[in-house]
Structures are given as C-alpha cells and as structure tokens.
C-alpha cells in the first residue's frame, strides 16, 4: 500500500475509520504498531486516514479468516513490495525433513494440538526411516 503516492479520496479521523471498518480504535493502533498498516497521513492535530486504511482493515479480516495470525500477516506485508492478494487457500507450510531423501510438508494453520500430533507421527516415521527394516536386514543376510 503506497500511501504517499496516492491521494486519499476521503479524510477520516481514527474514530470515523473505526466506525466505518467496524474495528475498535485501540485495535487499529495495535495493527499500526505491529506493522500491519501504515500510520495516519500527517502527524499530530491534522492526522487523518483514508480509503486505503479502510481497505487494509478489510484485507486483514479476510487474512485472519483464512487462518493467518497477525504476525504472519505482518511478515507477508513486510516481505512483499506489492499489495498482497488474498489467497484462496493458505500457502504457509511447515517443512520437515525426515530423512535426507524425505521431506514432508504440513499446513501451518493446523492448531498447535493437531501439529503436535502430526509431529509425533513424523518423529516416529523419522526414527523408522533411520533404521533398516527387518526385510532390508534379511535382504542383507541373503546377500
């Protein structure tokens, strides 16, 4: 969002922005502090917000509904020069290398509880992959 290059069509106070977006003023300040959106145009008494702030607040809601946390949204915004498109499906995945030749990807929006369950299975699998199976051992004996 390039605030400075675009002329805002509407000048909103923080209270007006909060009212229009249905997001409390304190939450908006929190988002600004977290780097989710830029601060107001101008500082001090003449500070105002524009349509793009309104749009960003709507985007944040959509990203949240897709399962991203505020920190993840902030990271994505910081990492992309272009405005981030709202994705149809979450694309953030954890990557687990179970063996030199095996990598498993797990959706990052899994709940921590589900993630722990998955991790346990992966740990078991990694251990099993690290050991020769009985068949392999037998094969070795035959040779």
């Amino acid at each position: 969002m390039s605030m400075n290059s675009q002329k805002a069509t509407e000048e909103l106070s923080l209270a007006e922005l909060a009212e229009k977006a249905g997001v409390p003023g304190r939450t908006i300040r929190f988002y600004i502090a977290k780097g989710l959106m830029p601060g107001p145009f101008k500082a001090g008494r003449g500070a105002f917000y524009g349509a793009e702030h309104l749009q960003r607040l709507a985007e944040i809601k959509q990203w949240q509904a897709k399962g991203l946390t505020l920190t993840e949204i902030a990271r994505q915004i910081a990492g992309s020069a272009q405005p981030m498109k709202v994705m149809e499906t979450p694309t953030a995945y954890w990557s687990y290398q179970l063996a030199p030749d095996v990598t498993v990807q797990v959706r990052a929006d899994a709940s921590p509880w589900r993630l722990r369950q998955i991790q346990r299975v992966l740990r078991d699998t990694a251990q099993r992959l690290a050991q020769p199976t009985t068949e392999e051992a037998n094969d070795g004996n035959e040779k």
Binding site: S13, L14, A15, A18, V23, P24, G25, R26, T27, R29, F30, I32, A33, K34, G39, P40, A43, G44, R45, G46, A47, Q64, G67, L68, T69, L70, T71, E72, R75, Q76, G79, T91, A92, Y93, W94, S95, Y96, Q97, L98, V104, Q105, A108, D109, S111, P112, W113, R114, L115, R116, Q117, Q119, R120, L122, R123, A126
Partner: protein, 779 residues
C-alpha cells in the same frame, strides 16, 4: 525524571534472541488484606515510557476466583485521578476521545473468561505513571484454613479456533476468534527472566489463631504483628511473572463465625462461616463416581503424572458397593468402559493399565469429557471428579453445558497459572467443590482428601431463615466435609438477630450481633463481586443484537452499579488532561509480555519449526523435546515451620520426594475390595492389614479424620469381620485401640516398607512390633 534511574536496571535481554526488551510495565506490586471470606486487594502497576514517542500500554491479566475490579487511581507527576465506573461502550468512547485529545487515558475493561485489559495510553517519553487498581477476590475456604491465589501471569488457553504462533524463539502469541471481542492477549515468554518484577505484601486478618502460613509458589517472609495479624511478603527482593501467588493459611481452630457489621449508611453487611463439621459426619454411602482426566498437551510433564497418581490413590478407597469409571479426554474422549464398574481387584488393575497409557496430547475439550462421564452415570446420576489445568477459553459455554448435564462436578485443578475462577464456577454451578493445586504439591493427597468428602455430603437441602435479613447468593445444594458454608447477609440496620439453618435431618441456630464497623463495606463489596461473577458465568453468548444478551447486559449493568464494581458490562475509565497534551498524536501500542506458566510446556501451545516463507526448516535439526517425567519437588504445608515458632520465618518450596504420604498412598492402592490387604492366607492378610492400619493411624489418619479416613474405615471393617479377631485376645485389644484412633508404638513405616517390597510380615514379627500395652500407645 527523578525516578527514572530507579528502574534503569531493567534493560533486560531476551535470552533466546539476545535482543533487548523494552519494558513498558516495570513493576506489579500486590498489597491488601486476606479475610476468611475474601480478599480486599490493591495492585500497583508502574508504567514507564522508554520510547521517543508516547506509548499506549496494554496489560492483560486474569481475575482470581469471585473477583471484581472496584476502581483505580492513576498517579503521575502533578496528578492523581480516580477512575469512573461507566457502561463499557461509554467508557471505551471516553478513553478513545482522551487518546485523540492527547490526554493520559486509562481503561480497565473485562472480557469473557474473566480476562481484563488494563490500558494506559499517551504516556509521554520518559514519563512514569502508576495505576493503583483495587480488586475484590474470593478465597478457597476450608474448615481449617484458606488458600489464596493471585495470578501474576495469564495461562494460555485452548479453544478450537484459537491461533497461536511462536513469533521468535521462545516467544509465543495467541489470538482468540472474533466472538471474544477485541481482547488483546499478552506475548508469552518461555524465559520470564527480565520481565517486569512482581512482589507482594499481604495482611492476614482471620479471627482464629493462625497455626501455619506457607506458600507452594513463592518463598515468603511472615511477620507476626502485636495485633494478632500476620504480614506475608515475598522473601527475595523481586520475582518474575511466571506463576500465581498461592498462600495457605491454616488456623488452629476451625474458621467459624460472623464477619462484618453496620456500615456508614446504616445498613448491615455480614458474612457467616459455618464449618462443615457443624452439620455432622458423613454417612458412608455407596459412591458412583467417574474420574475425568484432562490429557491435553498443556498437562504434559508433572501435571499429567500427578493426575494419574491421584486417580490410582483414589481407586484404593473403593469398596464393594462403589461403582467407578475413568474418562480421559483431549479433543477426543476415551473411556475405560462404556458403563460404571465395580471396584474389584481386576477392574482396578484394568484402570491402572488404562491410566498408564494416558499421556498428554491434544486440545482441551473439557465439555466432551464430562458429558461422557454424564452418559456413563446415566439417569441415576453421581459424582464426577475432573482433574484438569482448566486452560480453556469460552468457559461460559462450558459452564452452560455443565449446568444441563445433571451431574455434580468436583474439580481438582493442577497448574501454576490460575484457572481457579473457572474451576470454582464449574464446581459451584453443578453443586460440587473445587480445589486448585500447583503441580509441585501433593495433588494425589488432595485427590484422596477430596474423594473422601464427595459422594456423600454432610448436609443436603440446606435452607436459611432469619427475620429482616436477606441472603444472596443462594445456598449450595449440598455441603461436603472439609468445605464450610459461607452466607452473605444484608440487614436494613437491624443489629441483633438469629439465623436458623435447616437441612435434611438437622437444624442449627446462629446468633448475629452487628456493630458499627468499617468491615461492613468490605463484606458488601465481596458479596457484590461474588454475585457479579455468578451472573457473568451464566452469560453464555455476547452477541450485541441478541435480545436475551441485551437483557442480560442490562441486569449485569444494574448489579455493577448497585455494588460500584466493574464487570463485563461496566468498565473503569480515567482521563487526565495535562499541560502540553498534543491532540492527534498516535501513541505506539505496546503489549506487556508475561512468562509462560511454570510447569506448562511452551511447546504445548507454541510449536517450533520454521515457516516455508522463510528458509526451509528441518525437522531433524529441531531437537526433540526431552521431558523429565520425574515430578518436581513437592510442597506440603504440614511440613512447614509453625507460624508461632519465630517472628521471622522463611519457607522453602523444596521438599523431600518420598515421605510418609507416599508410603500411605502406596498402601492405599493395595487395599482389596473386602477392605483387607493382600496375602496368601487369612492370617497373613490379617497381619498385613493391621500393619497398614497402624501406619495410617500413626500418621494421624483415623476413620473420621484425615485424607485417608475412607481407607482407614475399610481396613477397620476388614479386621472387625475377620473370624480370628473375635477369638484372639491380642487382636481384639488392638482393634479396640485402633477404633479409638490409636496405634500401638512401633516402627510401622519399616514394616510397611517390607510389605510393599513383597516380604510377608510374620505373625511373630508383627506382635513383637505391636507391644500393645497401656501407656505405650501413641496417638
């Protein structure tokens, strides 16, 4: 600013990342008075702006049990302003306008689950501001003392729709879904070193003589004042916010009587404490009980090990007539069996095997756990003992389900960050009792104690009558051994009166005499905070448009206004206009981090690993979590130093692991269905049972007193029924003594150890130890 250097020592470093921490909140200091029926507290929060621009600080904390915020005073250089109590929407508007005007604004707003956000906005660079917040809170009252808990950290909680992330190594963030409103949760730090300092100094004001004061959570100093009061404070200079403060006060005599008086406005406010012993003894009746164990990820380590051990200890107290079930839940439910089972040796063995496989894993779907128990109990009903850390969000929804389940839920909370408020409500709303322990205490002992008192209450259908006195809240449906009845009453100026308590099969008269007292106001506020908590617990949804919710909010607003206490409907707000306030300046929002609760695994909520949007992470490179399954050092107030022995006493939380209580628990678990100990023939069983009995008696447990009273009663029953007792003079004499609560002198611990090691005690050895002679018996 002059005071700045005082806090400049706090240039803390995050040990995981090496980054400097900027502390927006420097200190949290708890002071106040502990009464038998509640606590009147004041918490000092010191905020300081170390930034180049103004800041808005948000501190999130959880309310203790039955607590409500009364008011706060915000103090800084040249000002001291008291808060106003306003409907929440109005308070938020006033706060926002204050921020917009550049004024120093503060708002204390309560959300669901008793979570509070204390906001202080527009603290100028270099400025220091203190907020003195007054809180009324309940205590866990027992016949022989009380336990007080105050949360210094907030527990992360489970909700199916919660999002959590490890934002940097050792730092976790959690976000609740929209239905929880705009509540801001803190960041959780795996290492709490370097966070704001916490401290406390509390006055214990109970009318009975204090036998002991101890803390399983903190090292404390106790000073005995000449007026009979005791001052308890933190022994070290400072501490970190990673666990609740837990204080135990044990009195020499049972806590009983009337507290309060006539206030300035001429009305009387008082609380009556009636110990459970006043209702008579429990008749031993068959139990129908289901143990419900929380196996969620947050129970990993000491809590789950403690819960397993606790249930095993309770199984030993089951008799032939009792029926039991075991349920383990996370986001799935597993039952030992579809229906209740008898406590036979085989069934108990099955239960032990089932328990051994119960390790910590998924989420905390508490309601599915107790609903499974309700199904098992069926239409005949019964008791449910839930062992949980209670770390869940959306507690009002769970409470609504519990109320309709038709079962009595007793809670044994385990954890160092308080979910005491929720578990107290869960038990109270279903007619049960609740205890909350830290994982460093004898949870198993508390379980045995709780188990002995539930099932058969000492009184049912209790009613109160008195002329010109109104009582609120309503009385509990049943009174259990060990937990007194507390009544809050109000008179329109009447100073003398009689209270009649009646219950099924009994009645009791208590005189009330009130005098002018400043305590009247404290009691009024404690009553108010209790009533507000109860009302909030029954407000399930928070939808703005819902007609029912609007009505509930209105009722809560009225109750808040009546007592002058904040609630979810009413908030506290203050705006301080200072010289040079700059309108329109946007303060930078800073959220105060807290420590991950001690004994809760960081990884249970905040998973490690690396995101794909960053360099690819390798699972194998992440060290697997190694958890020491050994239980941490345990605390027991019984082994503390007597309060009267010195003017200045230091308590340690370190305790030896294996003691007499472990021995008793292991003996208890061996008791067979007929009440006797195992053995190859009748004589060997008689001797083994007598050894176990003597062990319990020697530690002060009799058939009517102590946590193991049910076990003792069953051992006595076995010996009484044994044919050889009637024919053997020595055996009969031993039994007579034991029934009076005496054990013959002897090294019963040594004999019991041999028994547990599988070495049978010979008849000869037993009688050599049990030299039952007059004068040699020890209580």
């Amino acid at each position: 600013m002059e005071t700045k250097s005082e806090y400049s020592v706090f240039s803390a470093i995050n040990s995981k990342t090496g980054k400097e921490l900027t502390l927006a909140m420097q200190e949290l200091m708890l002071t106040g008075r502990l009464l038998p029926v509640g606590a009147s507290l004041q918490v000092r929060h010191v905020f300081q702006c170390a930034e180049q621009k103004p800041v808005e600080v948000v501190y999130a904390f959880g309310l203790p049990r039955d607590a409500a915020l009364r008011r706060f005073r915000i103090v800084g250089k040249g000002f001291s302003v008291m808060s106003e109590l306003k409907p929440t929407a109005e308070a938020v508007k006033m706060y926002e306008e204050g921020i917009e005007a550049g004024s120093l604004s503060s708002l204390a707003r309560q959300y669901r689950d008793g979570v509070v956000n204390l906001n202080v906005g527009n603290i100028r660079p270099g400025e220091m501001v203190a907020v003195y917040l007054e809180i009324l809170a309940g205590v866990e009252l027992r016949d022989d003392g009380l336990r007080f808990r105050f949360p210094f950290t907030l527990a992360p909680t489970y909700h199916a729709k919660t999002k959590s992330i490890e934002v940097e190594p050792g730092t976790g963030e959690m976000e609740l879904p929209e239905e929880f409103g705009d509540v801001i949760l803190p960041r959780w730090m795996q290492d709490a070193t370097g966070l704001h300092r916490v401290g406390f100094e509390l006055t214990v004001a109970v009318p009975q003589a204090v036998a002991e004061i101890g803390s399983p959570s903190h090292a404390i100093k106790v000073r005995h004042e000449t007026d009979g009061q005791h001052r308890v404070s933190l022994a070290p200079e400072k501490d970190v916010p990673d666990r609740d403060l837990v204080l135990d006060i044990r009195t020499q005599a049972e806590i009983a009587g009337v507290t309060g008086g006539i206030g300035k406005d001429g009305t009387g406010h008082f609380a009556v404490v009636v110990p459970s012993s006043a209702f008579g003894k429990t008749e031993v009746a068959p139990k129908r009980i289901v143990f419900v164990i929380d196996r969620s990820g947050s129970m990993q380590g000491a809590p789950i090990a403690q819960a397993r051990q606790a249930v095993e200890a309770c199984l030993g107290a089951l008799s032939k007539a009792d029926a039991f079930g075991v349920v383990a839940f996370d986001d799935k439910v597993e039952c030992l069996a579809e229906r209740l089972m008898n406590g036979t040796k085989e069934r108990r063995e099955e239960a032990r095997k089932f328990l051994a496989a119960v390790d910590a894993r998924g989420g905390t779907e508490l309601a599915t756990g107790f609903l499974a128990a309700a199904k098992m109990l069926g239409k005949d009903g019964g008791d449910v003992l839930v062992l949980t850390d209670g770390q869940v969000s959306g507690t009002e929804t769970i409470l609504a389900k519990a109320r309709t389940a038709g079962i009595r839920i007793h809670c044994l909370g385990i954890g160092s960050a308080s979910q005491d408020r929720f578990l107290t409500l869960l038990a109270r709303e279903t007619g049960g009792v609740s205890r909350f322990l830290t994982a460093r205490e004898r949870v198993d002992m508390a379980a045995v104690e709780l188990f002995a008192s539930i099932g058969s209450p000492v009184a049912r259908g209790v009613r109160v009558e008195a002329d010109g006195i109104t009582f609120a809240p309503e009385l509990p449906p049943a009174i259990f051994a060990g937990t007194p009845l507390v009544l809050f009453g109000e008179t329109d100026g009447k100073t003398d009166g009689q209270i009649w308590l009646t219950w099924e099969g009994g009645k009791l008269k208590a005189p009330v005499k009130l005098e002018q007292s400043s305590e009247a106001e404290t009691i009024r506020l404690l009553q108010g905070s209790r009533l507000i908590t109860d009302m909030e617990a029954r407000m399930d949804s928070v939808g703005e448009t819902d007609c029912e919710t609007t009505r509930q909010n209105k009722a809560l607003e009225e109750l808040s206004t009546k007592y002058g206490l904040a609630s979810r409907a009413m908030s506290l707000v203050a705006v301080v206009k200072r010289k040079g306030d700059k309108p329109g300046d946007l303060p930078e929002t800073m959220v105060v981090p807290v420590g991950m609760p001690q004994d809760t695994e960081f990884g249970a909520y905040f998973s490690g690993g690396a995101m794909l949007c960053e360099p690819v992470g390798s699972y194998l490179a992440v060290p697997a979590m190694v958890r020491d399954e050994n239980l941490p050092p345990q605390f027991s107030i019984r082994r503390g130093i007597g309060a009267g022995s010195s003017d200045f006493v230091l308590y340690s939380t370190e305790e030896e692991r294996y003691g007499a209580e472990d021995l008793l628990l292991r003996l208890a678990a061996l008791i067979e269905l007929d009440g006797g100990m195992p053995g190859k023939d009748d004589e060997e069983r008689w001797v083994a049972t007598a050894v176990a009995l003597c062990c319990f008696l020697a530690e002060g447990h009799t058939a009517t007193v102590g946590a193991f009273r049910l076990h003792v009663a069953r051992l006595l029953g076995f010996l009484r029924a044994a044919p050889s007792t009637a024919t053997d003079e020595r055996k009969r004499r031993l039994l007579e003594q034991a029934e009076l609560g005496f054990a013959p002198a002897g090294d019963w611990t040594k004999q019991a150890r041999a028994l547990l090691a599988g070495k049978p005690i010979t008849r000869q050895n037993f009688w050599r130890a049990a030299t039952v002679k007059q004068g040699e018996s020890v209580p």
